[in-house]
């Protein structure tokens, strides 16, 4: 597992082409997530593990949506693995759940 970015908000890791986000995906954390995603984007589904995300806001969601749009342009999808309850709630209230494939939602 490789740590590819860290600041006051977030820690981002890569493991077997899976992007793992820990902490807060906000205006400060989003750019580090973007950079990690850019490293593994391909024609394969992009998997982002969000089990350890403690907070996300719309600026963080924009990072995920941008990745989803790019994935669709490559003919593939973004998979959100084990999204935390905060992630699930933000996807729900913004009506953006359908933009992603969601795996193994964590218990609320």
């Amino acid at each position: 597992m490789e740590e590819v970015g860290k600041n006051e908000s977030i820690r981002v890791l890569l493991e077997d082409k899976v992007v793992i986000a820990e902490g807060d995906i906000d205006l400060a954390g989003g750019p580090l997530l973007d950079a990690a995603i850019a490293r593994v984007e391909s024609t394969e589904p992009l998997v982002i593990d969000l089990a350890a995300v403690e907070f996300i806001d719309s600026s963080g969601l924009r990072s995920l949506l941008a990745a989803s749009r790019r994935a669709e342009s490559r003919g593939t999808r973004v998979v959100l693995r084990r999204p935390s309850s905060g992630v699930v709630r933000l996807l729900t209230i913004t009506g953006t759940t359908e933009q992603f494939d969601v795996e193994e939602a964590s218990p609320a």
Partner: protein
Amino acid sequence: MSAVSPTLPAAGSTAAAGPITLTLPPIPTMVRVGRLTASSVASLADMSIDDIDDIKIAVSEMITVLIQSGSRTNITLRFETTATEFAVEATAPTPTNDLGRNDLALAIAVLEAVADQHHVASTDDRIMIRIVKRLSPIPTGSAPSTRA
């Protein structure tokens, strides 16, 4: 039998203390600082865990909008608790009053979902965002609720 406190909400001490003001530099790392401060202030108002989570999201959106609107000077957050509501107002001078230049739709959608009221206003040189969360009476002896 559960009783409901007749005088609501157990926020009296906070309300009596008056508004709380926080000034933040307009940089991304300050979004988290504002959010954590909002969480602490909201907890003083005896808000439920779910409501505090909503306040954290709202404040994060408010600060983010102001930073992305191009503010170069400090952002001011003002927290005010009354007997019935918890209000947060965020203001900042900005070089433009054209809110349409920013992708606000997602942030506004989030504010609509987490706040009971929200208001965004701009003048020639300033943007103001205000949200209000109603305070609910907490049944005596009950623990804070959690979202299902």
